[in-house]
Symmetry: C2
Subunit: 479 residues, 2 copies
């Protein structure tokens, strides 16, 4: 037997690391802060990519690819931007055996180089809106890396759009936030809170930053995606202008938005349990694993034959694997595929062969309660329904968990207790100093100003300083 | 009218650059040697990726993602490898605001870092073969960049496999060469010659390198993909070992293989003509463009309506665009979509509306000869057949062109004339000095030793030095 997994309740961070490595999602490398995404983790990322890419294309975006390297001077052009990113940069100083005249930055994000090119491509209102997305790797130096959550190099997508009006840019930033929320809830089965970032938490160079925030299994928040209305900050820094219908030269209004391989970490932390991963069926690389069970050599041929017949009924309709390896026992395989979070297991043994049926076992419902038998005729229907049900159950469970650990504290003492337990929705004065004090005293940060919270009725006071509240804010400890 | 395109016969390199930029496949950037792949070019690359990725998965490979950065010391571990790559490296010396203790190389290829990780993952014969592919960006410093063909950063895939025996590694290297050839011929409509690289042309660290070589429109060769049997060179350098069935520790046998965005350049150079791109239907981002034609405002509504009805008949079955922009004339649109290489154009005007028919025009057959009319009923069938026929015609045309310009010279004078015109298949003594002399005197390099050439009958003499020939080699000027 393999070593037991650290329970979540004992040490969530340790549990996370063990699961990610033992399920072979990712591994450390000798390159400080950089991970390798192993085939099983990458297959999960490919499914995430496909679900997002489809949504990007449906909303009119096209993919492109911009350079990895950015001249150092470009990063300096937008003052907030360089301030935000300079401590995180990886810098190429030598190329082709020579010292470079100007160092090149490995992109931490691409607003600057894309801004330069948009200035070249955009001439008239006819070229707008320009709606481009890029799937790429980016580098932000990390001293305390964590697999998927915080690594020096990570994979992401970054959308960059240019518009004729401020309103259109704001609409775009909000539209893409909705796209992210839709993806998170429908595909990853993760309920999210959409909100605006406070001044001190927003993207360097943005006018407004929007975020989707989710509650992980340890009740901490994870920022799962962000969308920024950049106003004219980058268009002025890079000269992105267009001739309007009246032949006047105008600066464009731009946006950017991104999600990363961090989403894999979210899926692990929201749904996993002490046995391992639980993958939502829509994203699972393997949705159904078929495990043939036989004790005597005489049973083997009939059982394997039947297992492949069952597979044939599902092939092409569900992502499927028959684990017919002889060198492992059925019990070992059960553990292995539970660890790897396959949503549905089908067991076939001599009894199933005789009865022309299959035994199903849900990963999200442990023990006998999650098991039932289906006749092979109608199996595809039963399996499809089960997968849909698992998808829905995972979402509902995560939502219930979040709701149980979300509080509306009255006063400071309740607030402290609330962020100890999970999320606190609290009136806030809007002052960055107060935000900072809250963080220092409770380790909880201002995650966002939720877009869908009921407005303040008036008269509320800031949970910390007692001054009149400006907004309802979501505070939580976070990744 | 837009400026005329430089004819291919006048200046092929200039024609290529104009086409790539005017069709908006790619553009220069302020980062020396790095290009931006624009949406139309990237959509073409996405189709190339999909066609290859399907073949990789069908042959049992999985995708993964390895770090961008490689410790400098890793590159040095395999002596031929560092010798081959050191003049091309981009080096990160600073990260997170500090000078790094050990510089990091931006991967020029990933054998070394992957070798290190395989050594960690592979324990027993049960873990073999390990068949992994990566889609990634790589960097090799280029002083004379050319869009798609030779850029400092480029996108590619690199397969890396480990096997228990020398035979399996050799089989894998040859299998992937076949996969590349199948892709090139069936999807890109480009006939290729499969061959082995000579000692001096092979990959740094390989035992055997295989290549597919194609003839471009200027009769020069382009290496379109390579596959390497690395023997035990990297497994010994990185300690990639496994316990065999008899519990003995053995070194693995490894391979690597890759193709890049250079394939986009090949598609441009093989099929394009003086009007612009001609894209093979299987890879074309837009397979059919529908252009509504109307002169009077009164015709507009009926024609547009009909154009969208025609589109509805094809939607979901072919990649399609209706160009219903009012700000451009039909003539301008014809030129634009010819430049961009859309294989099939459908024109609909008042006459087509009245006759319930559509006028089709093939991009690969200019003028009236490529035009015909189809009734709207049965349009999908007619369009599908036309696209298949275009795909096949492009391949045949490229094959005929290559055959017309491939020679079997007898003696040095004929050889010089042959490589002046195109490809020369010639007996060669096998000596690197002779290869070098040929290059210096004719600019033709040894592209490969074709795998499917008939064997030498014996008695042949090297085309240059007259010593007994060892092999039949393909010589050509090349990109």
């Amino acid at each position: 037997m393999a070593e037991a997994i650290t329970p979540r309740s004992q040490d969530f961070a340790q549990w996370y690391n063990e699961i990610v490595r033992r399920a072979e999602l990712a591994d450390y490398t000798p390159v400080r802060g950089c991970m390798v995404i192993r085939p099983y983790g990458y297959a999960l990322w490919e499914n995430i990519q496909a679900a997002l890419d489809r949504r990007f294309k449906e909303t009119g975006h096209q993919n492109a690819y911009f350079p990895l390297f950015i001249p150092y001077s470009f990063i300096e052009k937008e003052s907030e931007h360089i301030e935000g990113f300079s401590p995180q940069l990886a810098v190429v100083t030598h190329g082709g055996g020579e010292r470079l005249e100007e160092p090149l930055v490995v992109r931490p994000t691409s607003e600057t180089i894309i801004g330069h090119l948009y200035a070249k491509w955009i001439k008239s209102y006819r070229d707008l809106p320009l709606l481009i997305n890029q799937w790429a790797n980016v580098v932000r130096w990390e001293l305390r890396p964590r697999l998927f959550l915080r690594t020096t190099e990570f994979l992401w997508q970054e959308g960059h759009t240019a518009h004729a009006t401020a309103e259109e840019a704001e609409e775009e930033a909000r539209r893409m936030l909705d796209v992210y929320a839709d993806f998170a809830e429908k595909e990853a089965a993760i309920p999210v809170i959409k909100g605006r970032k406070s001044e001190s938490e927003k993207f360097p160079g943005a006018v407004h930053s929007y975020t989707i925030e989710a509650m992980m299994g340890d009740r901490k928040a994870l920022q799962m995606g962000t969308s920024h209305n950049l106003g004219q900050n980058f268009s002025r820094a890079f000269g992105i202008r267009y001739l309007d219908r009246n032949n006047r030269l105008q600066y464009c209004w731009t946006t950017s938005w991104g999600v990363s391989t961090r989403l894999v970490g979210a899926v692990v932390m929201v749904h996993g349990d002490d046995q391992g991963l639980i993958l939502p069926p829509r994203l699972a690389p393997i949705q159904v694993v078929i495990v043939p069970i036989y004790k005597e050599e005489g049973e083997r041929a009939a059982v394997l034959d039947f297992a492949h017949r069952v597979a044939g009924l599902l092939q092409g309709r569900v992502r499927l694997r028959v684990d017919d390896r002889d060198e492992y026992t059925a019990g070992w395989k059960f553990n292995e595929w539970e660890l790897r979070g396959v949503p549905l297991r089908i067991e076939v043994g001599p009894r199933e062969v005789a009865g022309e049926e299959a035994m199903l076992a849900r990963r999200d419902v442990p023990g006998q309660a999650g098991k039932w038998t289906l006749p092979v005729e109608g199996l595809l229907e039963g399996v499809s329904r089960a997968l849909e049900d698992i998808q829905e159950s995972l979402f509902k469970r995560a939502l219930r968990f979040r709701e149980e650990h979300t509080h509306r504290p009255e006063g400071w003492e309740e607030f402290v207790a609330a962020v100890e337990d999970g999320f606190a929705l609290a009136p806030w004065c809007g002052d960055a100093g107060c935000e900072k004090a809250i963080q220092e005293e409770t380790k909880a940060t201002n995650r966002c100003l939720p877009l869908e919270a009921e407005p303040l009725s008036g008269g509320e006071r800031c949970v910390r300083c007692g001054r009149p509240a400006q907004e309802l804010a979501l505070f939580s400890r976070a990744y």
